[in-house]
Symmetry: C2
Subunit: 129 residues, 2 copies
């Protein structure tokens, strides 16, 4: 995917959702990038959809937004997700108050469909608390 907007210019105000792709390298680099963490947190605070697949739930751990939520992830980071206070489930897609997570590339269809469904629902009022 060619990059059209870099982290310096990306704003949550301009979008309905953020989708965090996986892989072992990308989320490991982004979790120590303050601009990336602030951007993710802004989507969360605006009650917009935050979606993460494979190893990307590390970013939900790092921003602290997965605590107390139902979630899934790639199997190798299951322990990290549980230790961060999430309720881990072995399902193709798990949604809790606009946070959408999936396990691996085999779950992509369910993951994408659920993201579109959540965007259609609009802002996630429960998060206001």
């Amino acid at each position: 995917v060619p990059v059209d907007v870099g982290l310096d210019r990306a704003k949550a105000d301009d979008y309905d959702a953020i989708v965090l792709p996986g892989g072992q390298i990308n989320p490991d680099l982004l979790r120590i990038n303050d601009k990336a963490l602030k951007l993710i947190r802004a989507f969360y605070d605006q009650r917009k959809v935050v979606a993460a697949i494979c190893h990307a739930p590390w970013l939900l751990i790092e921003t602290g937004i997965i605590k107390g939520r139902r979630a899934t992830s790639y199997k190798s980071i299951k322990t990290d997700v549980i230790n961060a206070g999430a309720k881990w489930e072995d399902s193709e897609v798990v949604t809790d108050q606009g946070i959408v997570t999936s396990r691996n590339p085999g779950d992509l269809e369910a993951f994408c469909n659920k993201i579109m469904e959540e965007i259609a629902q609009g802002r996630h009022a429960q998060r206001a608390a």
Copy 2:
């Protein structure tokens, strides 16, 4: 390093210590490998030195042996190490009851020296409790 003994044949009885290298890929693969986890746990149970650098503390998280210990790691997994119940420190090498951890390749000299020192001390009696 050419592999001389594979996981199928490796036994803790034959060695004084296990050294877990880092990188983003290797520990991520090993933490879902039961043979690797059992081998690490065997070193721990025999009160031998267990050393991990960079991203390898994920393996100490997965085996559960880092809980309650002082430790360090590569900065990106600091949150995972803390969430696993360790007391994280920003030091070139941290040792707690024979568990030796370092942050990154810049710490290698301190890491290797401490491993040799810990091996020279022999078995870690405190762990027996």
